[in-house]
Symmetry: none
Subunit: 230 residues, 4 copies
DNA sequence: AATGAATGAGAATTCATTCAT
DNA sequence: AATGAATGAATTCTCATTCAT
């Protein structure tokens, strides 16, 4: 995992905070505050954080599910309801609807980067298979979050700009994979990584139920065949 | 043009409205529509019709342009303004924003069907080229009206249901083209027409500026290569 | 009246409008459209506008009354309710709550400028009396719209910037009045016009009920005495 | 300091709470508050008290500064942040945002009363100078806390009612000062103390940057001249 | 006592649609 | 038929206040 799961809110709410000794009179142990004594359980002081983190995850999951079901257009309230929290809580964690989308996307990009890295490092042999396997994986991710990745493609949105860096990381990483597959002779050389990503993502977007009948080849296979050799 | 571009309003509530005359059988009157039979005294009522029709077209064009520029999200008022009419007029012609979208799409599907028919009939020789040429044409149409065709893909929308019949016609027509191309040995047999359509449309959706660099192959070419032979 | 009562909305909604002949087929009389034949009643075509204007006034009045009663803090909905229109209508006329405030203030400034001009021109003799009479009038206006003029004083607000020009006009105009009063020897010379305005407006702000008991001098009189001579 | 600055919470619901001991009668214990009697074993509970008191002060100061900077409109959280405590803590000390404002104002009124008393008692000679000097001092205080004193002036607010008693004390105290100045012949007799207060406070409210240019007289001077003699 | 996460009642604003003229 | 003013439900976001730890 590269992009530390960017706890959005924390950067947001804690600017000039915690200037004073927390008033709670922590027993002055000898080590600097914030650095845990190794092995110390110290569960209590982090309790709140843990719960909040659970909520954050709940919201994230609820949002992902809701967006997948009904599109990004759903009112924020509905997401909150689905997460079982109040709107206020949602907004405490994600100060903007857009930032919520961003968080979801970033998480997925992050996961993809991780997977891609593993693919690059793990399978030095069979680079072609690794390439296509990864693309298939990416397709699944994108299909599940169609609307979100759609929004990423729209030019007007802030989203695109926001995720640019991370998306760039992903492309860099995929590019390595692609290059090796090309070098191994299993993938045509005249297709760029952005094109590959575009093709895969585009294919997902239309994955209408019924468009890919169980028997027969899948749309993605056609694209893959096209990538293999013209 | 097949789908009689009749005044929408009148048959709006019909479930399988418009273009229900499934294929062919236009009442071939002798004179072109819109040209008055000389000597007819009923100028006033006709003029209304003519003016109204002109407005309808204007709205349609303005809507298409506006949607292309700013997405289907644009307020109806803006479309009306672009068309140079009041909102009321727009709503007289298209009782719903969705119905306006529908009309645009239907027009394009209609055009595509026409083109496709011509391709089928006109070029009995070179069926493979005809197939790909048509797909390329379709891609252009879809790219220009991305948002609209996107909406067509969304599952929740009314739009999809509304355009189902006409879309089915298009698929039927394309299927003929595809079948001939398959028979001629230039296209793989294990890909269905919905899949073909899906691939082409998906590819358009992502046509981000920059994704297809001038030199090198285009995304669509990859898909075509994939379709040619596995 | 100087600042034409800035029909805010019109600049707002009519940018690329009215490109086409209004479709309504106005009987082609000989003179250019928009120029009224002298003496022609021609009430009909302007009807809508008249009603809308009435609404605009109603909103303005309701807003003024409501703001005066409960402060600018009142929700826009309440103003709309008081005006007997829907929120949408209010927003059609004033695209922002702030713009509504602006309109009210501008109207008052406008009235003040008018009055001030009259004072300047009308009473060349007795310039001192004219000066103080005007200030008293201004105090009444400001007292009635305390919150609004308060907001005008706040530095952060957009309002201030928005009304700057008009406020400048007012100050210019008052300055003439003041100068003459100074020249006539009835007002001290070391007080600037902004200070005068500040003093008067400040005095209004606190006009708490009871602060100025019926018998005895009024707060404003004290200020006036201070202005007369040090 | 008169109004015992006791822990607010405890007597919050009392109607005429705090400082109800109308004037005087402080339980003169021998040692300064906050300094522990040596040898007292009850360190822990005291320490709490001391810490809490420190927090209370910190909050008060932070609130004053924050309100001065950004108006009473600032969210409570921001005040808490500025004070270096959690919102919860703030609310433990001041159960309502309004009560926080109240506390600040009361403190200032208290200080003003103290100063005023000193002026009354200390400077039996030169009562006129004492009067104006105090007013100038009051103006400074009010300018620094404009928003708060503004709120005090608003009729709708609870604040006004809440601070009525203390404000009355201030007026009583000022009235003595004023009376002496009147008796000494340096201040006109037909102006009531509420009017004086109103004039001073009003003048502060508008102290826009730039309204009082460095050279020339200040707005307050005009008011003073007006008070001196009509 | 202190903390800060959670809550939810508003508030401003937008926009599809209706309606009087 | 055309016009554009009116409508109000829906949406995003804020912030005072409560509560579990």
């Amino acid at each position: 995992m590269r992009n530390g799961d960017s706890a959005y809110i924390e950067d947001y709410t804690e600017p000039s905070f915690r200037l004073s000794t927390p008033r709670g009179a922590r027993p002055m142990t000898g080590h600097a505050p914030g650095i845990e004594a190794p092995g110390a359980p110290e569960t209590a002081p982090r309790r709140r954080r843990v719960d909040a983190e659970r909520n954050r995850q709940r919201i994230l999951e609820a949002a992902e599910a809701t967006f997948a079901r009904a599109g990004i257009g759903v009112p924020v309230d509905e997401v909150a309801r689905a997460a079982g929290v109040g709107v206020g809580t949602l907004y405490r964690h994600f100060p903007t609807k857009e930032s919520l989308c961003e968080a979801i996307i970033l998480r997925h990009i992050d996961l993809l980067v991780t997977t891609c890295d593993e693919a690059v490092e793990g399978t030095a042999h069979a680079p072609v298979d690794a390439f296509f396997a990864f693309l298939r994986h990416m397709a699944d991710e994108m299909t599940a979050n169609r609307d979100l990745f759609d929004a990423l493609g729209e030019s007007g949105t802030e989203l695109k700009a926001r995720c640019q860096v991370e998306f760039g990381q992903l492309e860099t990483c995929i590019d390595t994979l692609r290059q090796r597959a090309v070098d191994a002779g299993g993938v045509r050389a005249d297709v760029t990584t952005p094109q590959v990503v575009g093709l895969v993502s585009g294919t997902c977007k239309l994955a209408q139920p019924g468009a890919d009948p169980p028997g027969g080849c899948r749309m993605l296979d056609v694209v893959f065949d096209g990538l293999r050799r013209g």
